[in-house]
Assembly symmetry: C2
Homo-oligomer: 362 residues x 2
């Protein structure tokens, strides 16, 4: 079992990473006998893991309830959030309760926002069950639901008291979702750590086939990189925004297609390539850097082109509605080199369209 | 113009109190020319004050939008909250926007929660237009919406960047709402400051008739008392809970009748009397103390009895669902003496029922 500590301004919490953690009462520190717990999950994940988690919590002496929300990004809504509040109120959960998110990014984001909001804040534990959630959404305290006019527009910065990453949960994950998780893994190398990028170029095939020891190292490294940046900038006033590399483009794809048609990681893969192409057109990185990123994503079985029929100029209205927009100006993350990212507002809309067209022009 | 500073752990903000403040660009510090603003109000208040505020903000050079939510406690819901998000997104407001709450407690609570949640937090200014909101809900950063199973169950602790209290807004306030505000005013004296209680016994009639200089002193004193307690305990881990004096009983009344039938302050008035009766039955205060409180509330034109047909035992199920419940035990605020309150969990349900029956037994 490995531990990554996330140091925040006023407290810290631990991410534990390993195998068989969900069966082990020790994983659930700091819960105690007598504590009340509400597990939030979805039917797909509950089938595999709910009874395991419940049994471990029973052994610990907790009073456990659960509520299931529908599976999928399109249910990441105020309505699903309200299902959680209703369950908490029907079972008379007080502000001393703990909400446990058991699932992927959608469950984590909604359950986290429910924890931030229920009675103005209760304790929260994350058990991310997808690779994407393990390396990304479970670290850093961003919680949210979607609005029909934009993704993640409603939410809170709210930190868990602990995160439990059990790689056993990846065995039941669809291959396509493993790949989507690897998109975010590749992002960390691309924006923060060229050595990790090179490590990924060497081991990507074994990660695709879920080799345990490599997987644990990979998750640990991503959590370390994310924990470092979150510690520096919890509320995304500066460097934390670098983590949005590829996301402004990616959100445009997701919104255009309707949530849930492409997986988030798939949209981010293409978004990263478009941001890399823009960095190249802007004179920052080489064509070869773009090609290396493209190859790595392709080996992870990720898409490397815009969705069929989505025109480059169709990205812009969505991109302008992005949270990273500052006084109406696009704020984009570009690459200075592989492993080094920066934020800029000084990019014309024409150049953005050119970058989106880059791959179809090759 | 008077100023009360609220000192928080990591920053402070000011409450300014006076006449004609809404017409004065200086009131709107720290807004600047070029800033975007979304005013949240309701049709009743907008009719009287929206154009005044808009004109002052235009003079300052701000870009101003507004959104109206339906008037009344029963609309303090996730649905009304979503109206605000939709308006913000339709007008492309970014995370640099400022939300201004122009209205009473309902508008302030919803708009504040919208500010806490929109893009995970934007700036927020309160312009409370009711006496209740001026002395209570606009100080301290509690924001929330209701759930059909309980009041204020969904929300956040979120502090404004400033609060503007213009007593001109009280001239158009229905008399019943002035009285409801005086219930909270009387609460401050009752739980924190026996001298202020005595001042109120002397001046309550002039407050009922809105005499300006007395009103400004009264609001200032309440804001000072509340600011002091919020500075000590922003998230209500200890002493801030004293402010809930009468509220556990009062919420039971409001929930039983359905939101909006009694005003919050009216329910709190009766709730305070029931809590005072409980303090007397518990051996803490004298019958005369209870009678002084009853008389003061009556002079402020507030109800002093349970609603018709609401049985004392009907309070308990609602009270047990209150946020102040700790592991299933009722947590109540009682009086040690006039001006001194304390929190206890050591009260039997029988005694609670007796206290509710106290007034019908006299």
């Amino acid at each position: 079992m490995l531990t990554v500590d996330v140091e925040l301004k006023d407290r810290k919490y631990s991410i534990i990473i390993g195998k068989d953690l969900l069966k082990d009462v020790e994983s659930f520190y700091p819960l105690n006998s007598g504590d009340r717990v509400m597990i939030v999950s979805n039917p797909t994940i509950a089938k595999y893991h709910l009874s395991t988690v419940e049994n471990t919590l029973f052994k610990l002496g907790c009073h456990v309830d659960h509520v299931l929300i529908p599976d999928g990004e399109k249910y990441k809504t105020l309505e699903s959030l309200n299902l959680i509040f209703t369950a908490l109120l029907e079972k008379n959960h007080s502000r001393d309760t703990t909400i446990i998110a058991l699932g992927g990014g959608v469950v984590g984001d909604i359950a986290g926002y429910a924890a931030a909001s229920y009675q103005r804040g209760v304790r929260f534990i994350q058990i991310p069950t997808t690779l994407l959630a393990q390396v990304d959404s479970s670290v850093g305290g961003k919680t949210a639901v979607n609005h029909s006019l934009g993704k993640n527009m409603i939410g809170a910065f709210y930190q868990p008291i602990s995160v439990i990453i059990d790689i056993n949960t990846l065995n039941t994950l669809p291959r396509r979702e493993v790949s989507a998780g690897l998109a975010e893994v590749i992002k960390y190398g691309t924006i923060f750590d060229v050595q990790f990028f090179e490590w990924l170029e060497k081991h990507i095939d074994k990660l695709v086939s879920l080799e345990s020891s490599l997987l644990i190292y990979c998750i640990e490294r991503c959590c370390q990189l994310k924990a470092r940046i979150v510690a520096q900038d919890e509320k995304e006033h500066s460097d934390r925004a670098l983590l949005n590399f590829g996301h402004t483009f990616g959100h445009a794809i997701e919104t255009h297609l309707g949530y849930g048609n492409w997986l988030h990681g798939e949209a981010v893969a293409v978004g990263m390539l478009e941001a890399a192409a823009l960095s190249y057109l802007n004179g920052d990185i080489t064509e070869n850097d773009v090609a290396r990123l493209e190859l790595l994503l392709a080996r992870a079985n990720l898409p490397t082109y815009s969705p069929d029929g989505m025109l480059s100029k169709e990205y812009l209205p969505y991109m302008k509605r992005d949270k990273k927009v500052l006084n109406g100006e696009l704020r984009l993350i570009l690459l200075k080199s592989l492993g080094v990212a920066y934020i800029t507002t000084n990019i014309s809309e024409d150049k953005v369209v050119q970058a989106i067209d880059y791959f179809s022009q090759l």
